[in-house]
């Protein structure tokens, strides 16, 4: 862990701080320039669709701190967390660019509720897209202030000064210069800014748009990277919690005598939590196995086959999220009408790091929780409520997070650790085992999507009637030239309305958009086939009003070397388009299907993406590749099996994640779009994988599979 000295908030480099508290922070920033930037956040941040703790914040809120110390080092403090997506590297790039300092002089502190400004959470591909502009503005404002100070000090006009690597120089007399550190030394300058700052023009970018080495690389390849479960306060105990075998069942009897007899074991009961604690994890595991429990019956009899009828029956009333013209009128001019129902099962997040947290109570009664979480600030509120403490008595520190994908927006394990630490009077570590991870996961919800659409004799889509149950709104709206359309959403991933789902659901990488994009783009393929056109040409014909999507599709087709042929061409090529987190995506997959078994091997994927300004090309490409690879899971294999409230998939031997042998040749294309601000990169490409592969399977062997995942059995069944 980093030590703190008087010179800077964190030592050279980066990372997470566990040794300063709020008072230290104020003291440490008592000299130097601190820019506290408030920007009216975009709509999505003011009223996010996902607000785990239901917290209300004043608006506008302060959402970026930039500090410049007497030694010239810059510290960026933001409430985001490093999940592997690379914000530890990309956010300093934005700050360094606007401040005109070297990237190496910028430190970053992430995800610490004592040190960083409030942030709702790291999800929705928002870090660069919505925090990026705020951070740039704060840094640009800091530069403006420093240049004004330099002008006074040097007796020059601000307009005659230039800044390079943190040194402000008078252009007409280069012997006159002053560093940022010299200007801020011994001074307390605090600026609270609202509104617009003078941002650097994209054409002048020197650091943004490059791929410097990832700042987490050395930590991660040497084992030095600390995740929540690696934090060991003195005297810390592992806690293993007695769990129900099924959702919704009640504990009727428990006997902990045998566990209590194990040397070194403590058994703690705090409300509904019964936990076995030991200094060593494996000995706590052993003691937990000695606890005898009896549970009542499960209220749910649903399983992964009966769930779909249940969803249709229990989903709330629909609401139209998009509507134009009149669908019935449009259908009158159709020469072909295609109607189809699409299904998708529950999908687990399955990050390699299970939910982990360590909690310790300080001598002053403050509670510190190191947690693997995507939402440190909402979690702070949740822990405070659970402990009946004021919010400021709780500090959440987020070390490296071992994957989230939406699943660590919910952080029950941290509340458990905090409650047990208070009850035990010792620091407590809660690291879920893999079965707990599958059981308490907030799955990507199962979904039913019904589409009825028609094409006319000119091969134009003339009607589009779309209803989605379970998945939610994201990605549900089509972007083709359809005058007569209606999109209705019933229920969504952000609320288990009417008890539709027998366990927890929540955001899963591009929540809802994977199911919606699968259904829409498979349906478009079916329309293309009915129209007797190749799937790229049909899409181009129906995208005349969407130049941006046309461009992305063309880029993918060019890279792939697309040659038009009618479906099914037996080549095994499939295309899908998507629009997610402000980014447009076109993906073309090539597959091989074993006709004997129905097994699908994806051999090549071309993915073109228009994501606006690309802050870090290598990082963006890595996210793209990660999306394609992770997407193969929900496309080909991932589907949680359950019955009577029991999650039957308890570990990896039965729940199959993508493996090395599944990974195709992936060719990414990032379009040059300097006029569009940076858009999301962590999610968009994944939404297209299901349909691109499903359409490729149809093209290969004429099997139209309309349920995800495309298991060998479903492919076999669809072969005619």
């Amino acid at each position: 862990m980093k030590k703190v000295n008087e010179e800077m908030i964190v030592p050279e480099g980066w990372g997470f701080v566990d040794t300063v508290d709020r008072r230290d922070f104020l003291k440490l920033t008592s000299s130097g320039l601190l820019v506290i930037f408030a920007l009216t956040p975009p709509e999505g941040m003011l009223r996010p669709v996902w607000n785990p703790a239901g917290i209300q914040r004043p608006s506008p809120d302060f959402n970026a701190f930039v500090h410049i110390g007497a030694n010239g080092r810059v510290t960026v403090l933001v409430g985001k967390v490093e999940l592997g997506q690379g914000v530890m590297t990309s956010l300093p790039q934005l700050a360094a660019e606007e401040l005109h300092v070297s990237l190496a002089s910028v430190d970053v502190v992430l995800g610490d509720t004592d040190l960083c400004p409030f942030d709702m959470g790291t999800f929705g591909s928002l870090s660069v897209r919505t925090l990026g502009p705020v951070l740039r503005a704060a840094a640009a404002e800091a530069r403006t202030v420093l240049v004004q100070m330099a002008a006074e000090k040097l007796g020059a006009n601000a307009a005659d000064l230039e800044v390079k690597d943190g040194v402000i120089t008078l252009q007409t007399d280069r012997s006159k210069h002053v560093t940022y550190g010299e200007l801020t030394a011994g001074k307390r300058i605090e600026r609270r800014i609202e509104g617009k700052a003078a941002l650097e023009a994209v054409a002048n970018f020197k650091i943004v748009g490059t791929s410097p080495p990832r700042r987490d690389a050395i930590d991660k390849v040497t084992g030095r990277a600390k995740y929540a479960g690696d934090i060991v306060p003195p005297g810390a105990l592992h806690a293993r919690i007695v769990r129900a075998p099924a959702h919704g069942v009640q504990l009727t009897a428990v006997d902990t005598k045998a566990a209590e007899a194990v040397p070194g074991v403590r058994v703690i009961r705090d409300g509904e939590i019964i936990a076995v604690l030991h200094e060593h994890r494996d000995e706590a595991d052993r003691a937990l196995r000695l606890v005898k429990t009896t549970f009542g019956p499960a209220p749910s009899t649903l399983d992964e086959r009966t769930i779909f009828a249940h969803l249709e029956q229990s989903a709330p009333e629909g609401r139209a999220v998009a509507e134009g013209g009149n669908v019935a009128d449009g259908e009158k001019s159709a020469v072909q009408v295609v109607e189809q129902k699409y299904l998708k099962g529950y999908v687990a997040h399955a990050p390699m790091e299970t939910h982990s947290a360590v909690a310790a109570v300080g001598s002053d009664g403050r509670v510190t929780v190191w947690a693997s979480t995507q939402t440190p600030f909402p979690l702070q509120t949740q822990v405070a409520r659970a402990l009946k403490l004021p919010t400021e008595k709780v500090r959440i520190i987020t070390p490296y997070v071992g994957g989230g994908f939406g699943g660590k927006s919910a952080s029950q394990q941290a509340i458990e650790a905090a409650r047990l630490a208070v009850a035990a009077g010792k620091p407590v570590r809660v690291v879920w085992d893999r079965t707990e991870e599958f059981f308490f996961d907030t799955f990507d919800p199962a979904a039913v999507i019904k589409i009825r659409a028609g094409v006319d004799s000119a091969k134009k889509i003339v009607s589009w009637n779309y209803e989605v149950i379970g998945a939610g709104e994201r990605g549900s709206q089509q972007f083709y030239d359809v005058a007569n359309h209606r999109t209705v959403v019933r229920g969504g991933w952000n609320a288990n309305t009417n008890g539709m789902h027998p366990f927890g659901i929540g955001p899963w990488r591009a929540p809802g958009a994977n199911a919606n994009t699968f259904a829409r783009e498979v349906h478009i393929d079916m329309l293309a086939q009915k129209a007797g056109m190749d799937p790229v040409g049909f899409r181009q014909l129906n995208l005349t009003k969407n130049a941006r999507m046309q461009r992305v599709l063309q880029a993918a087709a060019d890279k792939f070397g697309w040659q038009p042929q009618q479906l099914p061409s037996k080549r095994g090529f499939g295309v899908a388009l998507g629009d997610d987190a402000g980014t447009y995506v076109a993906t073309i997959a090539q597959v091989k299907v074993d006709p004997a078994t129905g097994a699908v091997q994806v051999v090549r994927v071309v993915c073109a993406q228009d994501m606006g300004v690309v802050v870090n090309p290598d990082g963006a490409m890595q996210q793209l590749e990660g999306c394609i690879t992770m997407g193969l899971g929900y496309t080909l294999a991932e589907e949680v099996r359950f019955k009577d409230g029991v999650v039957l998939d308890k570990n990896f031997p039965t729940y199959h994640l993508p493996r090395f042998s599944w990974v195709p040749r992936i060719e990414g294309v990032l379009l040059n779009s300097p006029d569009l601000p940076a858009q999301g990169g962590g999610e968009p490409a994944i939404v297209t994988v299901g349909a691109a592969v499903a359409n490729a399977v149809y093209d290969a062997i004429g099997a139209r599979v309309v349920q995800l995942p495309l298991t060998p059995a479903r492919v076999k069944a669809a072969m005619v």
């Binding site: 690379g86 690389a217 040497t222 997070v401 590749e625 690879t629 990974v663």
Partner: protein, 159 residues
């Protein structure tokens, strides 16, 4: 309780531990070597991979009795000071990680693979790494990293 002699990253230890305790948790909880990660607990993900006498093993299912008298190398034992092993360097150069949680296991698996087959084909790397799970989808970079290490001069690796 019995005394187990085990050499970890070149350092000999005499440990008074139950012989059926798991190597993973003795490394993490008793020796403070937290670089080795828990992922599944049932030998199904590779996150806890370490090298025992030259062979990659899953430490979550390896008992202390099984490593009595043996040499264990963990992720903390690969670099020589600031000098990364070829596989570690490959992971840095080819972005063979995202969240980094599976990375120590991947690097240990890749190191053992190259120790047994110094010039693997791409297919052999895929086959050799098949038991390692990565949820972020860093697979392409990992394959490139191990391939690059196989061409690097051998200056590190399992001891």
């Amino acid at each position: 309780m019995r005394s187990i002699s085990v050499t970890v990253n070149g350092v000999p230890h005499q440990l008074a531990v139950e012989e059926d305790r798991r190597l993973l948790w003795v490394l993490r909880d008793d020796l403070g070597l937290t670089g080795t990660k828990f992922g599944c607990g049932v030998s199904a993900c590779g996150s806890c991979t370490v090298i025992v006498d030259g062979k990659a093993v899953h430490s979550c299912v390896t008992t202390m009795k099984a490593v009595d008298g043996k040499h264990v190398t963990t992720i903390e034992g690969l670099a020589n000071g600031d000098h990364l092993s070829p596989v570690q360097q490959g992971f840095v150069d080819h972005l063979g990680f995202q969240c980094g949680y599976c990375t120590p296991g991947m690097i240990m698996g890749g190191t053992a693979l190259l120790a047994n087959n110094p010039k693997p084909t791409r297919e052999e790397i895929v086959k050799g790494m098949e038991g390692h799970l990565c949820r972020c989808g860093a697979h392409a970079g990992i394959i490139d990293a191990i391939a690059a290490a196989s061409h690097a001069p051998s200056t590190g690796g399992a001891k």
